[in-house]
């Protein structure tokens, strides 16, 4: 009898073991899969990072290709800087703000790594545009309005991100458009390649031509749209926390630090991310410059090396 009991017990143990393991598998896979997806750009950069290359950084300039309508620029770091008209041929540096009026449009050339079209009624900040080895790192912040981004990776690796108010957008393609509206909130559209948009814990895959909210039930889309509606800097210019945020997080002026969503891990700051891509075989030894896509931090994600102690 004892022998039968032992045999039955062994059979039951053997048969239920795999079932229990399978039951636990999805729960274990979900966070790791998500984490892996979020850290994909960072890993991609890490894989290509040289172990012996010091973090040599060269600041690059942005050239204004064309301007139409009302468009102005000012320094983000100078407290009393005034807005001045922007014109074709101007060179913009890091920590420069650009805003367009009704009917205005500005096309910026980011060295030989791509271009950004700022559409009418928009305001962006150029937080960072640097070359680290073969990698060019670009950080823009979009306060309101819409832009079209095109990244050219034929000359080397790019780590290109644009942050707005809500969610995270990661792209494996090379081109996309995004907008931050006061009413419809964060909107993104892939134009080339596959994209991934993350807002809070929801991840949406976007193929070319797909939108962020198109598959959501209206009630959920509306709820998302309500986020970040009543936002903005209180002084029309930049406050000290905003400047710090721009320095630390690369954008999201006016909202990061006010109404961040802790679940995004980026202070509610969404990003349009074109992760490191390269056709250059030499660029297999690139430094790791990207943190987790939705990495944590006191007021936002961003790059660990640029994160201020607070």
């Amino acid at each position: 009898m004892l022998r039968y009991t032992i045999i039955i017990g062994a059979v039951v143990a053997l048969s239920t073991g795999p079932i229990l393991a399978q039951a636990k598998a999805p729960a274990a896979e979900k966070p790791s899969a998500k984490k892996a997806a979020e850290e994909a750009p960072a890993k991609q950069a890490a894989d290509k990072a040289p172990k012996n290359d010091a973090a040599k950084t060269d600041k690059l300039n942005v050239t204004v290709v064309s301007v139409s309508g009302i468009a102005e620029q000012r320094s983000a770091t100078e407290e009393k800087a005034k807005w001045t008209a922007i014109k074709a041929g101007d060179t913009l540096t890091e920590m420069t703000l650009v805003r367009t009026g009704l009917g205005g449009k500005v096309v910026l050339e980011f060295s030989n790594r791509g271009n950004v079209t700022i559409k009418s009624g928009s305001k962006i900040g150029i937080a960072s545009f640097q070359k680290q080895g073969k990698l060019v790192k670009t950080r823009l912040g979009l306060k309101y309005g819409a832009i079209r981004a095109k990244v050219d990776s034929s000359q080397g690796a790019n780590d290109f991100r644009v942050r707005t108010a809500v969610g995270t957008l990661a792209a494996t393609g090379t081109g996309g458009e995004m907008a931050q509206w006061g009413d419809f909130s964060f909107q993104a559209k892939g134009t080339d390649g596959a994209w991934q948009a993350t807002m809070a814990n929801r991840v949406t895959s976007l193929i070319a031509g797909a939108w962020t909210n198109q598959d959501l039930p209206p009630a959920v889309a509306q709820l998302l749209a309500q986020q970040g509606t009543n936002v903005g800097d209180p002084h029309g210019g930049l406050t000290v926390p905003e400047i710090e945020n721009l320095l630390v997080n690369g954008g999201g002026r006016g909202i990061v630090g006010f109404v961040g969503n802790p679940q995004t891990g980026s202070g509610g700051s969404p990003q349009l991310i074109l992760p490191v891509t390269t056709n250059d075989p030499v660029a297999t030894n690139l430094p790791q410059v990207t943190g987790p896509v939705s990495g944590g931090g006191p007021i936002g994600g961003g790059d660990p090396e640029h994160r201020h102690p607070r």
Partner: protein, 182 residues
């Protein structure tokens, strides 16, 4: 029979009084804060930047934005803005306007509809650009989000709607969610 007739007369007289009073109240233009001013020399880029930081937007600011759809705001005071927009047939000539009052979504929708020349559908044509149906038209066109006509408009929301209205006015096409009209 006699008592009943008298009741009817009283009822009719009461209704007539209500209609007359209501009619008097809405039959003329009311402008409060006629001399209210706004920052001078403000272009549309500076205007959008300023209002995007405001929790709500006043009717004075809103009218400046609507005037900017045609270029620039050349008015010096709120009354001048009202007069300019009355001349463009954007405002209701029997409306009640207050420079410091917060703008409602319904009023914004009506101004946008009129400024953009949106004729809408049958109901909008019949009702003559009522706030309710202008709002529904703009919601249908994805120019404004769903919501009540009485809700106050935030600065960011106004900037967004104004930008879309400008895109429509320039191209006669409704912009998509990332500001494309092509």
């Amino acid at each position: 029979m006699h008592v009943t007739s008298r009741r009817y007369y009283l009822l009719i007289a009461g209704l007539a009084a209500v209609v007359a009073l209501g009619g008097c109240a809405s039959s003329r233009l009311t402008v409060t804060g006629e001399n209210a001013t706004l920052p001078e020399g403000e272009n549309s880029a500076a205007f959008l930047d300023r209002i995007s930081s405001q929790d709500t937007i006043t009717e004075n600011d809103a009218m400046r934005g609507i005037l900017m759809l045609d270029g620039a705001d050349k008015a010096g005071t709120f009354k001048q803005r009202v007069d300019l927009l009355l001349g463009k047939n954007v405002l209701n000539p029997k409306g009640d306007y207050d420079a410091s009052r917060e703008l409602s979504r319904g009023k914004l929708a009506r101004m946008i509809c009129r400024a953009c020349g949106l004729s809408g559908g049958i109901i909008l044509r019949i009702t003559g650009s009522s706030e309710r149906y202008c709002l529904r038209e703009l919601q249908y066109r994805q120019m404004m989000t769903p919501g009540s006509a009485s809700t106050k408009v935030s600065g960011m929301e106004f900037a967004s709607v104004l930008t879309r209205a400008d895109m429509y006015k320039r191209t006669r096409r409704f912009p998509d969610m990332v500001g494309n009209t092509d």
